[in-house]
């Protein structure tokens, strides 16, 4: 049977990479429309190659399609060339599998992985012919759901969504779909469905809540309006990762994806508790998959895809308790088939030299470590939990294994940062370069040491101990980057150290969206109407457009970014229970300012509150 295509040949032949839009990939799921009752469009609001690299969509796609009565399809952002044509010719956005318009679906789920995709949400709604605001939608429009890490502060985009799913998708999606089917059969309205959905744990229906503001602009009250709607929403987390649906046959893109490999998720959560890291907090408690489970499912995925690379995915892969056993198994099983193994998120203090020796003979590239800060004081403030000695031992190990390319990631603008902390980054890079020449005898060196230092500017995120911290104006961020650049230029090994820094203005807007409240939705809408889309792409990001929209909305960066929030202020995301408690955040914030470190979950439980979610590897038994 020949699948129809939504776009005519005439259009497909004049756009970049037309295979982004034709679907039909290996392992994509086709169903008979007449045999199913719920149609779900799952969207990653960025271009196909980025969206197809995302594991979360593959998990939900596979899980939803396991149900016979549901057909889940995929949607990505059309690139600007097609965007213009679709607007011009009034072509509705469609899902890849059936090539049917998204507007005809029951649900449109949008994953929110980074703040800079917020204008793309409006692009998706606009091209789909769905009204931007939940309150403007009719019973004929799909129910628009948001999920993913940015849903932990849903407020800046609250108006655009009918509901948010807070937390891991494996727990209550089926309950939501069952409720929908039931209400549709009974002929109930959209509003009635949304009210009932707010009763499912983890589901937040923004239209049922009201925010009031004090004269100084801070939130004075946030509460549910109809009776019976819960005042707090608890994030969802799976108790046992071996028992949830697993994407054994992920969809394989024809167009090369950014991450073009099997992704094996070995664990969720992180034991480390770095104080800047939102993922490290909201994905608690730390849960692992069993070795047997991973062995079996790695095999399924490799067989079903034919990929020649497998990446072990987690926030910190060296913390997986049976990492060595797992790697041994993969190396032995796939040596003949030349499957590469990649191990992202390695910690420099746990650099598994024996492991890397095994993996490296298949492919050798650069090593990436993230010390995050240049001095011990600064690393203690952020609770990075590594010492200078750890860094040098790790680097020496890497050098003696044969690496001579090292990438180092740092942040500038961290709370309490001083000039010496910035200069410390330079001196750390210099001493690592010197260490290379001390460690590796001349005859064994394969060329010069190459160090790449990259800095991003720190963005305070909700549900981190730094959520109350101010940011700095872009000029001040740049001054820090220039200072570091100048300092590096004075080092002995300056020619071996390359330095890149992130765009300061993008950081500002990311910060605005990360901790914004409901009033920010007006700003996002204005930016989109002014032509803003693909803000995560430097070639399309326009800072001035954001500033104009902010001013036109009567809002200011100083309110959202440049002031220190007080500990008793009602934060827009306070109504969500993300696991670790607010009192834990306060405690950690104070310890940070005192430059005190907190042990990781494995060393000692610090009582963050996530243990209530059960299944945590190192959580105390009740």
């Amino acid at each position: 049977m020949k699948r129809k295509l939504a776009l005519p040949d005439r259009i497909l032949m004049k756009i970049e990479k037309p295979a982004r839009y034709t679907g039909g990939e290996i392992n994509s799921v086709m169903k008979d429309k007449d045999q199913i009752s719920v149609r779900f469009a799952m969207c990653f609001p960025d271009v196909y190659e980025i969206g197809m690299s995302h594991l979360g969509i593959q998990i939900l796609y596979s899980m939803l399609n396991e149900r016979e009565d549901v057909w889940c399809e995929r949607v990505y952002s059309p690139w600007m060339d097609l965007h213009r044509i679709m607007k011009e010719e009034e072509i509705l956005l469609y899902a890849l599998e059936s090539q049917d318009p998204v507007k005809a679906f029951d649900f449109l789920g949008i994953t929110l992985q980074y703040e800079m995709c917020y204008t793309n949400i409006l692009q998706i709604l606009d091209l789909s012919g769905i009204p931007f605001r939940s309150c403007e939608r009719s019973d004929q429009d799909p129910i628009v759901i948001g999920g993913g890490p940015c849903a932990y502060n849903p407020e800046p985009i609250a108006e655009f969504f009918d509901l948010f799913y807070i937390g891991e998708g494996e727990t209550v999606y089926f309950d939501l779909i069952d409720l929908y089917k039931d209400f549709r059969e009974k002929g109930k309205s959209r509003r009635e469905f949304l009210e009932a959905a707010s009763g499912i744990r983890g589901i937040y229906v923004p239209s049922l809540y009201r925010t009031e503001y004090a004269p100084d602009g801070t939130i004075s009250a946030f509460e549910p309006v109809p009776e019976g709607v819960p005042a707090r929403v608890s994030k969802q987390a799976c108790e046992n990762l071996d028992l949830v649906s697993f994407p054994d046959a992920p969809v394989i893109p024809y167009v090369q994806a950014t991450q073009d490999r099997v992704t094996l998720e070995i664990q969720r959560g992180c034991i480390r508790g770095c104080r800047f890291c939102q993922a490290g907090m909201i994905y608690r408690p730390f849960r692992t998959r069993s070795l047997e489970f991973l062995k079996q499912h790695a095999q399924y995925m490799i067989e079903n895809t034919g990929y020649e690379e497998i990446s072990l995915s987690s926030l910190s892969s060296s913390d997986y308790p049976q990492l060595l056993e797992l790697l041994d198994f993969l190396i032995e099983t796939y040596e003949d088939r030349k499957v590469n193994i990649s191990l992202p998120s390695l910690r420099i203090d746990e650099f598994p030299i024996d492991v890397m020796n095994k993996v490296q003979d298949i492919r050798k590239s650069s090593l990436t470590f993230a010390p995050e800060a240049g001095t011990q004081r600064m690393r203690d403030v952020i609770n990075k939990g590594i010492t200078e000695e750890n860094i040098f031992t790790g680097a020496a190990n890497a050098f003696s294994c044969g690496w001579n390319k090292v990438k180092l990631y740092f942040m500038l603008g961290l709370p309490t940062e001083r000039e010496e902390d910035i200069k410390g980054i330079s001196s750390l890079a210099e001493r690592i370069a010197e260490l290379y020449y001390d460690t590796v005898p001349k005859e064994q060196r394969k060329g010069k040491i190459q160090i790449t230092v990259s800095t991003s500017f720190f963005v305070p995120k909700p549900f981190t101990p730094f959520q109350w911290e101010p940011m700095l104006p872009p000029e001040q961020y740049l001054e820090k980057a220039y200072l570091l650049n100048e300092t590096i230029r004075t080092e002995l090994n300056k020619k071996s150290i390359k330095y890149n820094w992130h765009d300061a203005k993008t950081t500002i807007i990311e910060g605005l969206l990360a901790r914004g409240d409901r009033r920010i939705s007006r700003v996002i809408e204005k930016v989109y109407e002014d032509g803003g889309v693909f803000d995560a792409w430097t070639e399309y990001f326009d800072y001035d457009r954001w500033i104009r929209a902010l001013e036109a909305s009567g809002l200011s960066l100083s309110f959202y970014l440049y002031r220190r929030r007080s500990l008793d202020e009602i934060l827009p995301w306070d109504f969500i229970d993300a696991g670790p408690s607010k009192s834990f955040m306060v405690r950690e914030y104070k310890r940070a300012l005192e430059e005190k470190i907190t042990p990781n979950c494995k060393a000692a439980c610090c009582g963050c509150g996530a243990a209530a979610y059960k299944g945590g590897e190192y959580c105390p038994c009740e």
């Binding site: 040949d9 497909l12 090369q256 079903n304 895809t305």
Partner: protein, 222 residues
């Protein structure tokens, strides 16, 4: 052991680029669990050689790929296993064992045959088009635009109803896209290629002596 594989590119997979198709086949061999021979070195890869990459948007009933496999004794078995996993649009038509001394698919190509189907009735006169001594066309190359005499490259050209068939010299320097000739032919009849809807299909590739590539230096089935 080297095998030659003939396959189609039908339907939406015509929108894939050449590199996409290469990756697709690498994974296809893996999913079919065919044991491949890999190149030496840091980054071993399957030894695959495609004949004459096809432009985006062109269909084909005659694409070719040479692959080195550990065990090629059962070509029809390879064909079946590949067809089980190849996905819509890629159908494996034939698999043959290459003779020891056989050249690779890319180097062996001399001619390619095409069909261009016009979506609306059209009147074209290929006989008259071929009358002049020379047919000079502008051809885009890596280094710039070059004028070539395509008359030498057109081995056959005829019109049947809405279908224009042609056999063109192909491979190496002597390649010309069929769309280019079709556009010139349309222009001669006072039509513009941009305004004419057509679908191009490559029918087959041939080695010297117009031997179809699948039969060239390959062993016949027992």
């Amino acid at each position: 052991m080297r095998v030659r594989i003939k396959f189609t590119r039908n339907g939406f997979v015509k929108y894939l680029g050449h590199l996409d198709i290469m990756r697709t086949f690498q994974r296809c061999f893996n999913r079919a669990q065919i044991r491949m021979i890999y190149s030496e070195g840091f980054n071993p890869h399957q030894k695959l050689q495609f004949a004459l990459p096809l432009g985006v948007g062109v269909l084909s009933r005659g694409e070719y790929l040479d692959a080195e496999v550990e065990d090629g004794q059962d070509p029809s078995g390879i064909r079946e296993s590949l067809n089980r996993v190849s996905g819509d649009g890629f159908e494996i038509l034939d698999v043959r064992i290459l003779e020891e001394q056989a050249g690779n698919a890319m180097a062996s190509v001399r001619f390619a045959s095409y069909e261009i189907e016009f979506k609306t009735p059209i009147s074209l006169d290929p006989v008259r088009y071929l009358e002049p001594e020379q047919i000079l066309l502008q051809k885009k190359t890596k280094t710039g635009i070059r004028e070539v005499d395509v008359k030498q490259l057109i081995r056959k050209m005829e019109m049947n109803g809405r279908i224009l068939s042609m056999t063109l010299g192909s491979g190496g320097e002597n390649s010309i896209k069929p769309e280019l000739i079709a556009a010139d032919l349309l222009r001669q009849s006072g039509l513009s290629a941009e305004a004419t809807e057509m679908e191009v299909t490559r029918c087959d590739l041939y080695a010297e002596g117009m031997i179809p590539l699948i039969e060239y230096q390959t062993k016949t089935h027992e």
